[in-house]
Each structure stands twice: as structure tokens, then as C-alpha cells.
Subunit: 91 residues, 2 copies
DNA sequence: TAGATATTTAGATAATAGTCTAAATATCTA
DNA sequence: TAGATATTTAGACTATTATCTAAATATCTA
């Protein structure tokens, strides 16, 4: 996991919103775009960053590209956070 | 907690390094600056963002300003992450 | 294979963010 | 209170990022 990519990806509010939308199930880029007021091109840019950070997965279904959450990375992020904040010498 | 401030603060590698350094105990701005190759002014800027996000606390001791981790916010961040990635309808 | 649909990529622009130097503020001590 | 030390704040510069429009790519279907 590229730590820097993950934290950068999570730093944008739109991208966190995308993750929240995907909680209710996988969606195509087009379906996702209905939930946001930015252009499809901008959304595609955000999806690329999320994909690059491995926060989402992507698969093609015909003409559509279907995006879904990659929850396993969440555990890794939490482990890192735990590491950032746990005091050394603590039992 | 201002979610946006926290995620933005965590997005920068230098700031995550600052948190890691503080794991071994609280430090003054000057002591911290010995650990980094940026100027004290730049470091001060990062510390201000961490403070603003409530990821660190600050107290004055004479001429020095002592920074320490605010671990309680880590729990909140993890809760948010959990929320971002947990599938709806999941038990 | 031509046209329609779904999505990304390229290139431009504007806003944000990180860094620096120089100056300002706060505290201590002789 | 003057000077020294510790740190922040201000202002400028550069790099990165988010957004847009227009063009390109991929897939399906008549």
C-alpha cells in the first residue's frame, strides 16, 4: 500500500463522498455521476485517484466501468493511524 | 471535529512524520525542528495545521511551546474511516 | 462496419498548499 | 529595561490539485 497515495486520496471531500455512496453497493461511473454536481471528466479523475490508492476496485461490464469499495485497505489505514498515535513505551 | 481539517492535515508526509516523532514524547518546536530538514518557519506552519485539526496539543513552557499528541482524535478518525468503508446493510 | 453510448484522457486554467526569507511577538535574564 | 532566545506571522514564490471543455478510446448493436 502506498501510504502517501491513500492519505492524499482521502484528503478530498468529494472522494470521501464517493466512498460513502459506494457503501450502498457498486456503481458505474455514470450512476455515480448522478450523485455529484461536477462533470463526468472530473469525477473520472477522482475515481482514478481512488483506484490508484486501491481504495476502490474497478471492473468492466460491457460499456460500463463498475466501481466498488475495497474495504480491506481500510484496515491497513486504521493500522497506520493507530501507529501514528500510539505512544511509544506504552504497554 | 472538523473532518476536512483532519484529513487534510494527515495528507502531508511531513506532518505524519511529526506525529510519529511525537509518539516518543512531547517536544518543543525547536526540538522538533532538529528532526526535519525544513526551516523552523515551515515546521511552524505544519504544526499550526496539526493544532488546528486538533491532532496535537500545545502548551507554553517559558519561551518554548511544547507540542504533544492528541490521541483521542485518532479514535474519531478511525470511526470515520470505519464509516467510509463499512457496507450498508452489513450486519 | 457505422453510429450510439459510456467513460477516460489531454490540455488549459484557477485555486490550494508547501516552502523560503525577513520581520514581528513572547518570554527570560543580566 | 536591553539583549538574547524561541517561535510565529507575513508576504512572495513554486508546485500540486481540482475543475472544465474538447477529443480520444472502448464497447455494443442495428
Amino acid at each position: 500500500m502506498k501510504q502517501q497515495l491513500v492519505f492524499k486520496a482521502l484528503a478530498d471531500g468529494t472522494r470521501r463522498d464517493i466512498l460513502r455512496v459506494l457503501r450502498s453497493g457498486s456503481k458505474s461511473a455514470g450512476e455515480l455521476s448522478e450523485e455529484f454536481s461536477i462533470t463526468k471528466a472530473s469525477l473520472s479523475h477522482h475515481l482514478a485517484l481512488l483506484l490508484n490508492a486501491e481504495l476502490v476496485r474497478r471492473e468492466r461490464r460491457g460499456q460500463q466501468l463498475i466501481y466498488s469499495l475495497n474495504s480491506s485497505i481500510a484496515e491497513e489505514v486504521m493500522a497506520i493511524l493507530f501507529g501514528l498515535f500510539s505512544h511509544k513505551e506504552d504497554s
